[in-house]
Structures are given as structure tokens and as C-alpha cells.
């Protein structure tokens, strides 16, 4: 089976690059990321430059995605807005993963009262549908990008904590962990050297799947006026402010929405691909 003697990491890496699903997802994400990062060089106009004489124009050579109610170029705004939207997708994943992993390892490793306390708190967070919980948090803290990112981060924590805890519980009983303890390795070393690295693959899969969730949630919150506040703009806010010009100015809806969908689709495809690639029971590819 493992004729070439690949390490699990190498095998997963190869499987990932052999999966059409994973590559499609990766390419979609990479393209949108590139377009947003390169916005200052490729955007045809200043994203906030208003042109009173060119309001609500449909797509043309000069304005490929049309213009909005202030005569601003929709393409340029989509490109710049992508920076906010993508960052909004990544930050909660980063926060959620690091806090959730810490709690999960702690819970699984400490056991007893600490474990019950942490896991019951996670149950409390899970007792609300995720978008509703995010809404409740932003709703009480007040609207704004920072609070919205904070809310979606909090919502992402329990999934990581649960996954990592159950993984830690089974790893704790492994013979190599016992062996490490027998030769006198410190708890910190056991955690760092033997437990954490082995929880990485479910964390990676969960992260890539929650990018999509985070982007959708933040776009939703911005759409309700609870996320980014003007003049800053992201795709959700663009959809929200373009809504008043339906159905005539369809381009205000279609383009930002397509970008959200591409990114989320890309993240989900990549997540599916990663899950298959990191599955130890999966078939090795040549």
C-alpha cells in the first residue's frame, strides 16, 4: 500500500493536489484573494470616487460592473470590498481555532471538573443556532465591524473545542504518550510534542469549512447594517445598499453576491478536498 514509504503528511499533500475538487477550490480562493490584494493596481477607478453624472449606469467598457447611486465604480468597490470581506472570513477562523483548540486540549487533558465546566459552557453556546447567536452578540454590543468579527469568532469556538477535546481524550491514552510520561517528559512537552500535532488535521478541515461560514455570517450581519459601517464597505454592505435600487439596477446585486458565492464555494471545495486528503483511511495516490 505504502510502497514508496511516504509519511502521512506527504501522502495527504499528494492526495490534495491530485483531487480536482481540492484544486478547484484552491484556485477559486487564490484568484479572489489575488484580485483583492492587487486592487490598488488593477481597479479601474478610485473605489470612493463619486461621479454625479454617471449614477446607476449599467455595465459598460468603462464601468464593467456598472456604477452605484453615487456614480462609484462597482468593480473597484467589489475588489476593495473583498479585502474587508476576506479578512472578515479569516479572522474569526483564526480566533475561533486558537481559543477553541486551547479549550479543547485543556478540557480533554485535565478531565474532571474543568472538563465539565468547559464542555457545558460550549453546550450553552451551541444551544442557539449560530447565526442567531452572532446576531444576539452584535445586537447587544452594538453594530460595527469589530463587534461582528468578535461575535462570529465566539460562535466558531465550540466546534473546535469539541473536536479537539475528543481527539485529545483518545490521544491521552495512547502508548506513546504513556511512554513519554514514563521517561519523565513534562506535561507541556507532552502536549506540544505528542498531543497538539495529532489534532492538527481535524482542525485544518474544520478551519477551511468555517471560512465559508464566517464570510457568509459577516456578509449577513453587514447586510442587516450590523457589520461594517459606511464609508467602509464589504460585499454584504454593498448588497444591502444596492437593495433600494432593485429591480432596475440588477448589477448592484449580482456582482457582489457572485463574489461571496465564489469565495464560499472555494472554501467549501477546499475543505472537502482536505478532509479526503487527511483521512487516514483514504486511498493513497501514486
Amino acid at each position: 500500500m505504502n510502497a514508496k514509504g511516504q509519511s502521512p503528511g506527504t501522502r495527504a499533500w499528494r492526495r490534495f493536489w491530485h483531487s480536482k475538487v481540492a484544486i478547484t477550490g484552491f484556485v477559486l480562493l487564490a484568484v479572489v484573494l489575488f484580485l483583492s490584494l492587487a486592487a490598488p493596481w488593477i481597479a479601474p477607478h478610485e473605489p470612493n470616487a463619486q461621479n454625479w453624472f454617471r449614477r446607476l449606469e449599467g455595465p459598460s467598457m468603462e464601468y464593467p460592473f456598472g456604477t452605484d447611486e453615487f456614480g462609484r465604480c462597482v468593480l473597484s468597490r467589489v475588489l476593495y470590498g473583498g479585502r474587508v470581506s476576506l479578512l472578515s472570513g479569516l479572522l474569526p477562523v483564526l480566533f475561533g481555532a486558537s481559543i477553541g483548540t486551547t479549550l479543547g486540549v485543556w478540557s480533554g487533558y485535565a478531565g474532571g471538573k474543568v472538563d465539565s465546566l468547559i464542555m457545558r459552557s460550549m453546550d450553552v453556546l451551541l444551544s442557539l443556532p449560530s447565526i442567531f447567536l452572532a446576531l444576539a452578540i452584535v445586537g447587544t454590543l452594538g453594530p460595527g465591524w469589530r463587534n461582528a468579527v468578535l461575535a462570529v469568532s465566539v460562535v466558531s469556538i465550540p466546534a473546535y473545542a469539541r473536536i479537539v477535546r475528543s481527539k485529545t481524550l483518545s490521544l491521552r491514552e495512547m502508548e506513546y504518550v504513556e511512554a513519554a510520561r514514563a521517561i519523565g517528559a513534562s506535561e507541556v512537552r507532552i502536549l506540544r510534542r505528542y498531543i497538539l500535532p495529532n489534532t492538527m488535521s481535524p482542525i485544518i478541515v474544520q478551519s477551511s469549512l468555517s471560512i465559508g461560514f464566517a464570510i457568509l455570517s459577516l456578509a449577513g450581519l453587514s447586510f442587516l447594517g450590523l457589520g461594517v459601517q459606511p464609508p467602509t464597505s464589504d460585499w454584504g454592505e454593498m448588497l444591502s445598499s444596492g437593495r433600494r435600487f432593485l429591480p432596475d439596477s440588477w448589477w448592484l446585486q449580482v456582482f457582489p453576491g457572485l463574489f461571496i458565492m465564489f469565495v464560499v464555494l472555494g472554501a467549501n471545495l477546499m475543505g472537502d478536498g482536505l478532509r479526503d486528503a487527511l483521512d487516514p483511511k483514504g486511498k493513497p495516490t501514486g
Binding site: 454590543l141 458565492m261 464560499v264
Partner: protein, 309 residues
């Protein structure tokens, strides 16, 4: 079974208690003075003495644990306070809105199950064919579309360009169609994906081969031997979908002006109507927890082994 049920209900109590602490806790984090929020513009010119009167009327000058206790005992008696905005009882407000959310959730879930389940089965039976690829791709697209965007596109298509359905409001079944479609689509996709993968796990088993070998009709093999054994993850997905449809239709309800709990919550948030925000969070949490409990009980029915663990 009764013992199992009791055990499950007892484990729920600390979680529900935790929810009340969470709700009470976030309310403490609300920036600004709640009394000023309550009084709104009227509060601008109020003297500190007047504010103090309102505060002591509302019990806000009590120590924190005392306030929590008052809050909790109110919640247990079903007293969620009065709306800052309409001065109506929050519980009553929720009770009026709930049927709308329920109808919307049931309709879209029924549609999602009746489409998602067969589609997922077909996809699993035709694994790695063009049909399977098409279904898998569409399902992935379905979970990636922003619901609020889909809602707007539907509205654009079915109310403006081809005006067959009303764009917003409630009252007739025709008002229900678009919101149900918008939130149902992602549920179809979730259910189809889960059905496909759990059917694939089961269809490779020996007992399926045995069933086929003894000459049973394909339909019987797939449904009685396949689907029944693949049911647990599918039932979980359906249950979780129902839960999130009940509390998660926030954006769709807002766009279509559907007067459910989601819209009530958003309106309360925009108006900073704290008692209503608090009440609807608690309400949705209890509802969601109960549905998860029902899903758990259904497991025990489907798989007797769980009862004895």
C-alpha cells in the same frame, strides 16, 4: 426508555441555566446606561434624580446577583418583561410571532426532505457518474449561496421580471413560497449531502449484498436495508436543520417582511429594545434545545443500543 428520557432532560437543565446566565451576562456588556436606552430621546433632558427613580423602579440599583435572581424567577414564571418600544409583554409578542416562524420552518423543511432525500439516494446509487457529479456540485453550490442574496434574486425574478408572487408580507400561501424556497435550498443541499455520504457507507456492507443475492427487489434493498441503516446521521441533519430554520431564518424573514421571530429580533436590535432581544434569545435557545432533545430521543428509537449505554 423513560429512564433514558429523564436522564436526558436532567442533563439539559444546567445548559438552560447556562443560557440564562449567558443572556443576563451579555446584557451587562451592553454599552451605555440601559435607562437612557429605555428613555430614548426623552432621557436627554432628564435629571440624574429622575434617572435614579427609573433605575430603582426597574430594580437596576440592586446588586448584580439580586438582579439575576429577579430575572431568573421572572423567566421561570414566563415573565420576560415589557418591550421598551411597544410596552407590550415580551412573552405575548413572541407568542404572536412564533406561528409564522413555525409555518415557514415546517414548509421549507418538508420541501427540503422530500427533495433532498431522494436526490441524495440517487446520487449514492449512481456514485461517480455524471448524475452524481452534477448533484454533488449543485448541493455544494446550494450550501455556498448566501441566503439573503438568493432571497433578493428570487424576489427580482419572481416578483419583478416575472411577477407571479408577492415580494413581501404575509397572509396567503403565495407569500410563503419565496421565503420557503430561499431558506429551503440550503437545507435541501445539506440533507442531500448527508444522505449521499451515509448511504455510501452502508451500501458497501455485506448485508446489502446478501439482500441483493437473495433476489429482493432493488427498491426494497435500498429502502429497507440501506436507508434504515443510514438513517441516524440523516435524521440528525434534518433535526439540526429544523432547529436552525426556526432560529436562523433571520435574514430571509427580514427581506420578505415575514413577521416571525427572526424579524422581531432584528427589529428589536435595531431599536435597541433590550427586553425583546433578551426574550427572543431565550425563546430560541429553549426551542433549539428541545428540538435537539427530540433528535436525541429519535436516535434511541432508531438505534436501541444507545439507550443502554
Amino acid at each position: 426508555m423513560t429512564a433514558y428520557l429523564l436522564k436526558r432532560i436532567i442533563t439539559l437543565l444546567p445548559v438552560l441555566l447556562g443560557v440564562t446566565i449567558l443572556v443576563f451576562g451579555i446584557m451587562q456588556l451592553t454599552p451605555g446606561d440601559p435607562v437612557r436606552v429605555l428613555l430614548g430621546e426623552m432621557g436627554q433632558g432628564a435629571s440624574e434624580e429622575q434617572l435614579q427613580t427609573v433605575r430603582s423602579n426597574l430594580g437596576l440599583d440592586q446588586p448584580l446577583h439580586q438582579q439575576y435572581w429577579t430575572f431568573l424567577s421572572g423567566v421561570v414564571r414566563g415573565d420576560l418583561g415589557r418591550s421598551f418600544r411597544s410596552n407590550r409583554l415580551v412573552a405575548q409578542e413572541l407568542w404572536v410571532r412564533f406561528p409564522y416562524t413555525l409555518v415557514l420552518a415546517i414548509t421549507s423543511l418538508a420541501a427540503a426532505v422530500s427533495i433532498g432525500l431522494p436526490v441524495g439516494i440517487v446520487s449514492a446509487l449512481k456514485q461517480n457518474t455524471k448524475i452524481d457529479y452534477a448533484i454533488t456540485f449543485l448541493a455544494l453550490l446550494g450550501v455556498s449561496i448566501p441566503v439573503f442574496w438568493l432571497s433578493l434574486l428570487l424576489m427580482m425574478g419572481l416578483s419583478y421580471y416575472w411577477p407571479v408572487l408577492p415580494a413581501s408580507g404575509s397572509g396567503t400561501w403565495r407569500h410563503l413560497v419565496m421565503p420557503a424556497m430561499a431558506i429551503g435550498l440550503s437545507s435541501i443541499a445539506f440533507i442531500a449531502r448527508m444522505t449521499r455520504s451515509s448511504m455510501l457507507d452502508v451500501l458497501g456492507e455485506d448485508y446489502i449484498r446478501t439482500a441483493r443475492a437473495k433476489g429482493l427487489r432493488s427498491r426494497v434493498v435500498v429502502i429497507r436495508h440501506g436507508l434504515r441503516n443510514a438513517a441516524i446521521p440523516i435524521v440528525t441533519t434534518i433535526g439540526l436543520q429544523f432547529g436552525s430554520l426556526l432560529g436562523g431564518a433571520v435574514l430571509t424573514e427580514t427581506i420578505f417582511a415575514w413577521p416571525g421571530i427572526g424579524r422581531l429580533t432584528v427589529q428589536a436590535i435595531l431599536a435597541r429594545d433590550l427586553p425583546v432581544i433578551q426574550g427572543s434569545i431565550l425563546f430560541v435557545a429553549v426551542l433549539f434545545t428541545l428540538i435537539n432533545l427530540m433528535v436525541d430521543l429519535l436516535y434511541a428509537v432508531l438505534n436501541p443500543r444507545i439507550r443502554y449505554e
